[in-house]
């Protein structure tokens, strides 16, 4: 998103002072919008923060405002202590989920860049007509319904008769008996089910970074490349010494955005693996959802989980804003 422009000073030249009538119009128009934001954005944020310090269940009739108090007591930071040191099932699953979420992100980012960067460079170098066609097709999964894509991948990973098993057999490899359900299949510390989810997610998501990289490559002025050429650089040097440094900021920003979105992947975990096998693909958002809406546990604890996720994402967002604020000129 175009965050960097947020920080520019208002440079619009105003056509004279606002009359009282115009000011009144602006205020009366914005008042309902801001009231609405108060109810549907600000209030829920405060509510979530406050709730994370309570033991809260909507079934219990609390005493205070929003049912917080009485049967839903204030527990200070007990929810957070429980999450990080407790021995209850939700707390143990949470810690596993935190680890899995980081593992997923740590696998998605390099795999994504490994595919999108070279592909973008190749794509940028071919003729305009084919470029548009390839770009359009690579982008297709990103605009498709995640639910339908999960159905597609459950077909790819179906044991025995799934397309991947067929392809493995076709090239003489022995496919695993079960792609998504055997907890004993772990490669280099990564469960097979997690690898499968990573692959399906990167397939669904790579088009987005790809088109951004293609656009970034196209925006590098031709004169810079020609100058390097005149100075005697060969194609390889030109790529590493001119193109790569100029792409650095885009790659950095895209990486932060990819990490932020990877931390929030839900559909594929909930539907393809359901967090399994043996919680090997249990992630933060999935455990927040399951605790709050499936098991209807303590919503205070779920809120504390969402605060942990929020703090992680907020930190990354601050980094992203910092990056966007740095001025770059070609």
């Amino acid at each position: 998103m175009a965050f960097n422009t947020l920080f520019k000073k208002d440079i619009v030249v105003d056509s004279g002072k606002l009359t009282a009538k115009q000011r009144r119009f602006a205020y009366t128009s914005l008042t309902p919008i801001l009231l609405y934001m108060g109810v549907f954005t600000l209030f829920p944020i405060v509510w979530a923060v406050v709730m994370s310090f309570y033991s809260y269940s909507p079934i219990r009739e609390g005493s205070g405002f929003l049912g917080l108090g009485g049967a839903n007591p204030f527990v200070q930071i007990d929810n957070y202590i429980e999450l990080f040191t407790g021995t209850s099932k939700p707390a143990e699953v949470f810690r596993l989920a935190l680890k899995n979420t980081f593992m997923f992100t740590a696998l998605v980012l390099p795999l994504n860049l490994l595919i999108t960067l070279p592909l973008a460079v190749i794509l940028e170098s071919i003729g305009e007509r084919f470029k548009t066609l390839f770009r359009a097709i690579y982008f297709l999964p990103t605009i498709s319904s995640s639910v339908a894509l999960v159905i597609i991948w459950s077909y790819m990973y179906a044991p025995g008769w799934g397309l991947l098993s067929i392809m493995f057999k076709a090239v003489g490899l022995v496919p695993p008996k079960s792609w998504l359900q055997d907890p004993s299949l772990v490669y280099f510390g990564v469960p097979l089910a997690m690898i499968c989810v990573v692959v399906a997610h990167v397939w669904q998501d790579f088009g987005y970074n790809l088109v951004i990289f293609v656009a970034a490559l196209q925006s590098i002025p031709k004169t810079l490349r020609e100058a390097a050429r005149v100075d005697g650089a060969n194609a390889w040097q030109e790529f590493w010494l001119v193109v790569v440094p100029l792409l650095r900021r885009t790659v950095l920003l895209t990486s932060v955005l990819t990490v932020i979105s990877s931390l929030q992947v839900f559909v594929i975990f909930q539907l393809l693996t359901r967090g399994g096998p043996k919680n090997q693909t249990q992630t933060l958002l999935l455990s927040i959802y399951e605790n709050a809406f499936r098991f209807a546990n303590n919503l205070g604890l779920s809120s504390a989980m969402s605060m942990v996720l929020f703090i992680i994402i907020l930190t990354l967002t601050v980094i992203q804003f910092r990056l966007l604020r740095t001025e770059w000129e070609y």
Partner: protein, 283 residues
């Protein structure tokens, strides 16, 4: 290669055919999963259960599609209507609130404007899952649970839409508005008759992205909708997957029906959608 300005890229190193070979491998990788379920959706239940399966059906038919569309136990028509109703409502509302608020932030200067804009931008910075639980409780309190309004009312304001419209309207010349003012137009009249007619392209792109996001939305509808007749299409597909395990062909057909409307829009507008997605990322 000819002696045109050579391009320093992998393509140059690999040669043109190498570049196309890689691109085509990527293309197959992208399209094969789609293609596989499309051909699989034409199979009979027996063919779907067969191991090892044939890639193509020997007797392809649209039976799976006609079954889900005709089966009286499946409220697919109602679910389709729900998805269309929610998507179109959200598009119309978002386009109005975004352009209207964007107009005020772009063209009026008043005390507290930066604060007000900052409040709106908070929405962009707060991930959905942070407010997911309180929003659910709020929707329960408002009596909107298991109602399509639960998908529409909390989505009246789209901070990103306001931001995008503000950017666009700032570039419109102030003289136009002043001239209308001298001619006696009201402030709202300036918005509706001067500003709005010039905003075709940004409104269209905001509308398309809002439509796609709403059509594909899953987590929030999953939380707030419970009755079969209130489901949206993605919820129907998921229900199918769990309830109709014995007939996978129906699940496949339902998935393809979910993808279809977006694909049709995409075929006509792909170039524009991709460009918009790119330019909204940075710049």
């Amino acid at each position: 290669m000819t002696d045109k300005p050579k391009r320093p890229s992998l393509a140059f190193v690999l040669g043109k055919s190498g570049a196309y070979a890689i691109l085509i491998v990527g293309l197959i990788g992208t399209l094969l999963p789609f293609f596989y379920i499309i051909v699989s959706s034409l199979k009979t239940p027996a063919e779907l259960r067969q191991t090892p399966p044939d890639f193509f059906s020997k007797t392809p038919s649209l039976d799976n599609y006609t079954t889900i569309l005709k089966d009286k136990d499946i409220p697919i028509a109602q679910n389709l209507f729900n998805s269309i109703f929610v998507s179109i409502s959200r598009v119309v509302i978002t386009l109005f609130t975004s352009s209207y608020a964007g107009y005020i932030f772009a063209k009026y200067h008043f005390k507290g404007k930066n604060l007000a804009f900052g409040i709106i931008l908070i929405q962009i910075m707060i991930p959905f899952q942070v407010v997911m639980i309180p929003n659910y409780l709020l929707v329960v309190k408002l009596g909107l649970i298991d109602s399509l309004w639960a998908l529409i009312i909390p989505a009246f304001i789209d901070a990103y839409g306001i931001f995008m419209m503000k950017q666009f309207i700032e570039a419109l010349p102030a003289e136009l508005m002043d001239a209308a003012r001298i001619d006696g137009a009201s402030e709202f009249g300036i918005y509706s008759r001067i500003v709005l007619p010039q905003m075709g392209p940004p409104l269209a792109s905001l509308g398309i992205f809002t439509f796609m996001a709403t059509w594909n939305d899953y987590l929030w509808p999953l939380i707030v909708l419970t009755s079969p007749e209130n489901r949206t299409i993605p919820l129907l597909v998921v229900w199918f997957q769990t309830a109709h395990v014995s007939n996978q062909g129906l699940v496949l057909a339902a998935s393809i029906l979910t993808l279809l409307p977006i694909f049709i829009v995409y075929i006509f507008l792909q170039r524009w959608i991709v460009d918009q997605a790119t330019s909204s990322a940075f710049k």
